[in-house]
Symmetry: C2
Subunit: 141 residues, 2 copies
């Protein structure tokens, strides 16, 4: 995974707060696979930019600005997941590939993917046909 | 763009030979956006691994092994292009995004994308419906 971006941090902090009620430096570090010292530095930056508030003993909370970014990142993340699932990608591979997709696709392409997901959700017959097609193809390979 | 891989080199050399009849270090360097000295080093490696033959004055030629890899990279490249085009991504953005897709998607996901492209080509009505859907969505945004 490339160096976590501001968006990665905000998303992870948001998820930790939702899951456990709080986000500690050590949990953020372990879930992003980086050192606590890097997390501490980044949290200082995010706090200066008013994405979050850090109070000793109370821990981290996201500001409305930080939470709104975290939510839009999460929603993009979910659309990409649904997209790869629709294409027939196995669950174990989806998470790994999303990292790549999130970091390297342009906003325009992400919008096309969002439209695609919504289109397929509105036309479930399409997905049934695609699934059948893949099964037939697999058998003939 | 990340550091060019063996595959990137072979693809580019193959394309240059097809376009101009030959591939010179200087053309490879300029089309990959890197220094000639890096290209020379890489060509030495590729020659040791028997992907290509380098003869002074005659220039570079790909071995059957090298050419076969170059062709499969090119075919993957084309499938990804078609895929992004099907999704409605603008031409100017397709090339940029393919770099990301090629470097960060797993072989399994790439296979799903290939299946998707072939499915849609076999069912052109689907693409017509998706295009209409996107136009209606755009107008209502």
């Amino acid at each position: 995974m490339p160096t976590p971006s501001v968006e990665d941090y905000l998303e992870r902090i948001y998820e930790l707060i939702q899951e456990k009620g709080y986000a500690r430096v050590i949990d953020i570090a372990s879930s992003l696979g980086i050192q606590s010292s890097s997390v501490t530095k980044m949290i200082q930056k995010l706090s200066e930019q008013e994405f979050l508030v850090y109070e000793k003993y109370r821990g981290l909370t996201l500001t409305p600005k930080g939470e709104s970014i975290a939510q839009s990142v999460k929603s993009r993340h979910r659309k990409l997941e649904e997209f790869l699932r629709i294409l027939g990608v196995a669950e174990g591979i989806i998470q790994k590939d999303i990292e790549g997709l999130e970091h390297y696709l342009s906003p325009e392409t992400l919008q096309c993917i969002r439209d695609f997901v919504e289109f397929v959700q509105a036309h479930p017959d399409w997905q049934t046909r695609f699934k059948k097609y893949r099964q037939t193809e697999k058998n003939s390979r």
